[in-house]
């Protein structure tokens, strides 16, 4: 399998590029940021995306999806990263859809996948309980009661948590806090009175919320995947999320680098284009090389998810590590090479710097993933 996009995927890329440039450029993101609508994104835009088949991009056609797989999702995420598009795509169409498509029962698939594909129902994944990503550390409790469980606990940084209709919550059904065994995923309605959702404004205006659940009664039918064996499913969902977040960061990094090289060709100081200075040229050349490395890593992880989902986890980790590093370098260099204008709010490069920072934190930064790689490799 060649490590390039096929014709269909290239057409999707062109379509996404055209649509977002027209309907959701950075100016649209600025509107959302400045006007602070309660949802944190534009519902009409999301409906249009759903009509184009984006909401169900990884969902099979039998459930109303467009069946493009993870490469398709990555192609869209990359263009969204270029345009800083605000949408529930990541939490609903990647995390929610992966959770249900990969681990749901036939009944759960029938009830949820079509609703994802149509864009009408929004999902969110609640994993972390502290400021640093640690999916093995789950204290959120699910205590057996009657025919089901009682859920209680808190979750932090739940992407789209305050607008979601359904929540996928990682809870502890047995074992100790850091035990991978004993974690169970529950799929619950987000508007239950026992759930308190508090929107947490983020530096990049990304939608996130803290959750607090106090005695929510659920049944065994609400379990997604296996009782006590939810860690494997969680890893699978996170892997998909890591690869698609990498694609988003890759888009942001490429965009900000394009803008920066254009600037190097235009801006004059000391009577010359600043792009003619070797001090800047060499940094740009090094960054350009890193960006090529990043693009390969991202595409590989997406292709691995499509070809062998169950064994793609480590590739997704490596992609997230590499992409996080390169995208941070790209956004930092963009600001520095722009000079004063780079730190103004009016200019876009700072927005990318913020977006990439949060994406890098989400689901594990480069340190988290290289530690994971080293442990897996026996050192």
């Amino acid at each position: 399998m060649p490590l390039i996009l096929n014709e269909e995927q290239e057409m999707l890329q062109d379509a996404a590029n055209g649509f977002l440039a027209e309907k959701a450029p950075v100016a649209a993101f600025r509107k959302v940021r400045d006007n602070k609508p309660a949802d944190g994104f534009c519902r009409e835009l999301w409906s249009e995306m759903a009509e184009m088949g984006w909401a169900g991009i990884i969902v099979g056609e039998e459930h109303g999806g467009s069946g493009f797989g993870y490469v398709g999702a990555g192609v869209l995420a990359e263009q969204m990263g270029r345009n800083l598009t605000a949408s529930p795509f990541f939490s609903t169409s990647v995390l929610g859809a992966t959770a249900i498509q990969q681990y749901g029962t036939e009944k759960q698939k029938a009830e949820n996948l079509a609703a994802i594909s149509s864009g009408e129902t929004l999902y969110a994944l609640a994993v972390d309980e502290g400021p640093r990503h640690n999916p093995g550390r789950i204290a959120f409790s699910a205590i057996p009661s009657g025919n089901g469980f009682t859920l209680s606990g808190t979750k932090t940084f739940v992407a789209d948590g305050h607008v979601a209709d359904k929540l996928i919550i990682a809870a502890r059904t047995s074992g100790e806090q850091d035990d991978p065994h004993g974690i169970t995923l529950f799929l619950v309605d987000a508007d239950a009175p026992e759930i308190t959702r508090e929107h947490t404004p983020m530096v990049d205006s990304r939608n996130a919320a803290n959750l607090s659940v106090d005695g929510l009664e659920v049944t065994g039918d609400d379990i997604l995947g296996e009782l006590d064996g939810g860690f494997g499913a969680l890893e699978g969902i996170l892997s998909a999320g890591r690869a698609v977040l990498s694609a988003e960061m890759s888009g942001s990094a490429q965009q900000v680098f394009d803008v920066t090289t254009d600037y190097l060709k235009e801006r004059e100081q000391f009577g010359q284009k600043i792009g003619s200075f070797q001090g800047l040229q060499h940094r740009a050349a090094q960054l350009a090389t890193e960006i090529e490395m990043m693009k390969s890593a991202v595409l590989k992880s997406l292709k691995d998810l499509d070809q062998d989902f169950a064994n793609a986890g480590m590739t997704c980790s490596l992609a997230k590590a590499k992409t996080g590093q390169v995208a941070q370098l790209a956004t930092k260099e963009a600001i520095q090479m722009h000079g004063g204008i780079g730190v103004t709010d009016e200019y876009d490069v700072g927005l990318y710097f913020k977006r990439v920072h949060v994406a890098q934190q989400m689901f594990g930064d480069a340190g988290f993933h290289s530690d994971r790689w080293a442990k897996k490799s026996g050192y």
Partner: protein, 403 residues
């Protein structure tokens, strides 16, 4: 079934039938590879058999036209052949600078007669080539080279010195950049010429490096007469006189392509996994992590970069085959591969501690860790320094302006 799928099945069967077991021992190294040339002696019967069978099939130079000894494979077919060869861990039957550097330049710039003589001899492993580019005064600024080539009617007369001519002492011919016009702007007075190393007036002196032994030499030209032509339509000059820079640039792209596709972190003799190797040498702490957190992080970073690098070779090759070409992006691969290779040898030295810095009574042993570590300092210098690659990337990939 598609033609390519059929081809894969054919190739797989051919390899199974024809590649001797002894030649399925991993990728080639400078020591065990089959170089060819007048002085060549096969290291084993299996090496000879493998070479001869590949030659008969055109697989010493699979993508070259059949009339010049190749198999005329398309890029897609060649990729399949390579994948299948690697799948059984088979060595390449023949590899040398004629195949990787001169060949592609001749294919692009040579006449039919030049190709018929030189390409065929390369494909058949008869002639081993070396490269005469750098001079003592022309390193990164290669175009300032001064080896003088005068037109004497029926022949050229060459005087000057080349340096870093790898394996010049055991090569048969040299492809050389010489100055034919001292008055023209520096890029416009250079000619690309093919010279028999047996010519009178050529002398070679090996260079001793910080690593001890090395393949590098100095090559001296003292009134060397080179025929204008080796036959009808078969000039000693490739391309036009004074336009050799075009050929040289084309060839440098291939050289960088080659340098940029070696498996960098492992080098040619490193362990399969640096991290595991370190764990065996140093041990793990109570949490199962390498008992040296800083080194652990450096190794993980290098392995991550190596992974992304190898994927990038794969992706850019696929893109090039799909039609967009590799072009100046080969400079990115050259830079990345050479820096990674250096890091690999540095990390191995760190893992070994003072043991790595211990050498034999007779100096640095060839093939030892210290030898590799020292020798690979040259990787980011030869074939254009990292800084020269950065210049090329900024101008030719990014289009940044000149001063």
């Amino acid at each position: 079934m598609s033609d390519l799928e059929n081809f894969r099945i054919e190739v797989r069967a051919w390899l199974q039938e024809n590649c001797p077991e002894e030649m399925r021992d991993g990728d080639i190294t400078a020591e065990n590879q089959c170089w060819g040339g007048r002085q060549w002696e096969f290291q084993s019967e299996a090496q000879k058999i493998w070479f001869e069978r590949a030659l008969a099939k055109g697989y010493t130079v699979p993508t070259w036209p059949k009339e010049y000894g190749g198999a005329g494979l398309s890029a897609d077919q060649a990729k399949i052949l390579d994948e299948e060869r690697q799948a059984i861990n088979a060595r390449k039957p023949l590899s040398n600078f004629g195949i990787s550097m001169l060949g592609p330049a001749l294919l692009a710039f040579g006449t039919h007669e030049q190709k018929a003589q030189h390409l065929t001899a390369i494909a058949r492993g008869e002639i081993r080539w070396c490269q005469g580019y750098s001079e003592p005064g022309a390193g990164s600024d290669l175009a300032s080279l001064k080896t003088k080539c005068e037109d004497k009617g029926d022949h050229w007369l060459i005087n000057g010195q080349k340096v870093w001519t790898s394996n010049a002492d055991i090569s048969d011919w040299i492809f050389c950049l010489v100055r034919t016009d001292f008055d023209a702007p520096k890029h416009k007075g250079i000619t690309f010429i093919l010279i028999d190393m047996a010519s009178e007036g050529i002398s070679v002196k090996p260079i001793v490096l910080i690593s001890g032994h090395s393949p590098f030499c100095e090559t001296f030209f003292d009134n060397v007469k080179v025929p204008k032509s080796y036959g009808e339509n078969n000039a000693s000059v490739v391309g036009e006189v004074n336009r050799g820079w075009d050929v040289a640039k084309n060839l440098l792209v291939h050289e960088r392509g080659m340098l940029g596709t070696m498996s960098p972190l492992r080098g040619t003799s490193g362990p399969e996994s640096l991290g595991k190797h370190a764990a065996e040498k140093i041990g793990l702490d109570a949490t199962g992590r390498l008992d040296d957190p800083a080194l652990r992080q450096s190794i993980a970073q290098a392995e991550l970069d190596d992974w992304a690098y190898n994927l990038t070779v794969e992706r850019l090759t696929d893109e090039a085959n799909a039609g967009s070409g590799l072009g100046a992006k080969s400079s990115m691969l050259k830079y990345a591969a050479s820096e990674l290779t250096k890091r690999g040898t540095e990390l191995l030295m760190e893992i070994e501690g003072t043991t790595g810095a211990t050498i034999g009574e007779d100096g640095i042993e060839y093939g030892s860790l210290a030898n590799n570590w020292l020798y690979h300092r040259a990787y980011s210098i030869l074939g254009g320094t990292t800084e020269v690659q950065f210049n090329i990337i900024s101008k030719r990939v990014l289009g940044l302006p000149s001063e």
